[in-house]
Subunit: 312 residues, 2 copies
C-alpha cells in the first residue's frame, strides 16, 4: 500500500519514503499494472473513441486533440474505427465496453436501439460529437449540419448562382447538410439541384469524376456544391483542366476548411469547423464529469463559419 500511495498520491507519504520507493522503482524498472489497478479501483483511465473512419481529414484532428488532452491527464485512448453502418458500431461498442472504459466518445447522434441500450447500461459518461440534437444520450459537442446547408444555400443564392450541382458522399451527416441546401433552394423557388453521389471515402479523383459527369450533362450548373473540400478540390481541378475558369465559368464550394483550402488556386470557399475544439471540449466534459464535477452545459454547439474565398 505504501508503494501504491508513493506512486499515486505521494503527498500523503513521507518524502523520505517516497524517495526510497522511487529508487526501487528505478532500480527494478517497475511499471504498475493498470489492468490490476483498473480492476481494483473500478477506474480504468481509458476513454473509448468510436469514429466511422480515420483516413478522413475531418476526424483526424479531433482524434488527435482528444488523444493529446487525455495523455496530459493520465488517460489513454482506445480508438475504434466503426465504419458507417449501425450493425458494426453496435458490435464494436459492445466489445470495447469489455475494456471498461471510464467514458466513451461516439461520432454522430443516430445509433441503433441496441447500441443506445448497451451504452446507457454501461453507466459511463458519453459524449456524442459532430452533430446536434436536443436529446443526446448524455453530453454532446457538435453543430447543426442542416444549418450549414442553409448557410451554404443562402450564401450562394446571394452570390447570384441559380443552377446548382451537388457532389456528395452518402453518409448521414452529409445528407443533413444536403437537405439543408435543398430545402433553402426550394423555399426560394430555385430549381432542384442536379446531384452526383459518390462513395466514401471522398477523394480528389471522385471529385473530378463527379464534376466531369455534371459538366457533360444537359443542364450544366453554375455552381458545384461539394460535401467536402477534397471533392471541391477535385471539381476545381477537373473544371480548370477543361479550360473553365473558377469561379467565373463555374463556382465551387467545399466543406471543412481543410489545410489546403485557403492556399489552393483559386482558394476554396468553404465552411470551417473547429475540429480541435470539438475534441478538446468533448474531453473536458468527459473528464469533468468523471472528476465528479458538474457539467453546466452538456450540449455544446461549436457552430461553424462560412469562409468566403475565391472559388465561389
Amino acid at each position: 500500500m505504501t508503494v501504491s500511495r508513493a506512486i499515486n498520491t505521494p503527498q500523503v507519504v513521507r518524502p523520505k519514503t517516497v524517495e526510497k520507493v522511487m529508487a526501487a522503482v528505478r532500480a527494478t524498472g517497475y511499471i504498475p499494472n493498470a489492468l490490476a489497478g483498473g480492476l481494483a479501483s473500478k477506474r480504468s483511465k481509458l476513454i473509448a473513441v468510436v469514429v466511422p473512419q480515420i483516413n478522413n481529414s475531418m476526424f483526424v484532428d479531433t482524434i488527435q486533440s482528444i488523444s493529446d488532452e487525455l495523455a496530459r491527464r493520465g488517460y489513454h485512448m482506445l480508438l475504434c474505427v466503426a465504419g458507417y453502418t449501425h450493425e458494426s458500431e453496435a458490435e464494436i461498442v459492445t466489445t470495447i465496453l469489455s475494456r471498461r472504459p471510464d467514458g466513451i466518445v461516439l461520432t454522430g447522434i443516430h445509433h441503433s436501439p441496441e447500441l443506445r441500450k448497451t451504452v446507457l447500461n454501461a453507466s459511463i459518461p458519453v459524449v456524442e460529437i459532430w452533430d446536434l440534437t436536443p436529446t443526446p444520450l448524455d453530453m454532446l459537442v457538435g453543430f447543426s449540419h442542416a444549418k450549414v446547408g442553409y448557410a451554404i444555400g443562402q450564401y450562394l443564392l446571394n452570390k447570384g448562382y441559380r443552377r446548382f450541382g451537388l457532389i456528395w458522399t452518402e453518409d448521414r451527416r452529409a445528407a443533413q447538410r444536403k437537405n439543408g441546401v435543398c430545402e433553402l433552394l426550394a423555399q426560394h423557388g430555385v430549381d432542384t439541384p442536379t446531384e452526383v453521389l459518390v462513395p466514401l471515402p471522398a477523394s480528389l479523383k471522385l471529385g473530378r469524376e463527379a464534376c466531369a459527369s455534371l459538366l457533360e450533362s444537359d443542364a450544366v450548373p453554375d455552381v458545384l456544391v461539394c460535401s467536402s473540400d477534397t471533392l471541391a478540390q477535385g471539381a476545381i481541378v477537373e473544371a480548370m483542366h477543361r479550360g473553365m475558369r473558377v469561379p467565373e465559368d463555374i463556382a465551387v464550394m467545399g466543406f471543412g476548411d481543410l489545410d489546403f483550402a485557403a492556399f489552393h488556386e483559386p482558394a476554396i470557399t468553404t465552411v470551417g469547423i473547429d475540429r480541435w475544439g470539438v475534441g478538446k471540449r468533448a474531453t473536458d466534459m468527459l473528464l469533468e464529469k468523471l472528476a465528479g464535477g458538474f457539467v453546466s452545459d452538456p450540449i455544446v454547439d461549436v457552430g461553424f463559419v462560412l469562409i468566403e474565398r475565391h472559388s465561389a
Copy 2:
C-alpha cells in the same frame, strides 16, 4: 468457470450448457470484464501503436489497417501519438506499457536507450515500422529511405535535371531520404541542392512558401524535390500561380503517392509505399508470434515504387 468456457471456448462445453449461458448473457446484458480477464490470463489482447502524428496522411492508412486487422482477430488498439522527440516517446511508451499490451508497434528505428531498455524489458513482441535496419529490436516492416533518395536522384538525373531544389521537413526519416538524394547527386558531380526546411506537419501552404522562396532566390532550380506529396502539391500550385509551366519550366517531385497525386494537374511524379501493407504485415507478424508461431522472416522490406507521372 463454465460461463468463462462457454464464452471463450464453447467447443469444449456441452451445446445445451452453452445455450443456457448465452441466454443468460443476453437476458442480463452481461459484458465480460477484459481488465479482470487480462489480469488473470496475462494476455490483455491489447496492441499498443506508437506514431509521431496521426494527422499525417502516411501513417493514417497504416493505423487504419492495423486497427481493422486487430479488430478482426479480437484485439484492440491503443493508439499513442508520441510527437517527434525521443523524450516524449520514451515517457509515453512507459505509461502505455502499464496497460500490459501483448505487443507493440513503434514507428521508426531510432529510439532512446531508455526506450530500448524499457521495451525489451517488457518481453513482448515489438514491430518497428517505416524504416529498415539489419538490427531491429525484434521485428520490422519498412523500407530504405536512403534507397528512396537514391532512386529519386537517379530518376531526375536521367530526366536531365541538374539544378536541384529541396523542400523538406525535418523529421529523421525524411532526412535519410534527403541524404540519399544528395549523396547520389554528389557522386555525379551535380551541384549541391538549394534547400528549404519546413516545420512539421507539412502542408500545402508550406509547400507554396518554400517554392516561392526558391523561385525568388539567385539560383532558380529546374526541379523541386519535396519530402511529401503535400509539399509537392503546394510547390506546383505556387509555380503555376506564377505563370510557370510544370514540368516544362520547373519540375516537381513528391513522396508518398497520396490519394490526390495521380489525379492532380499535372499528375504528381512520386514514390509509392504500400501503407496498408505495412500495417497488415506488422499485425500479422505480431499476432503470429503471440500465437506461439514461428516468424520466418522478422525483417520485411516492403520496398517502394517510383511512379512516373507528369510533374517531373
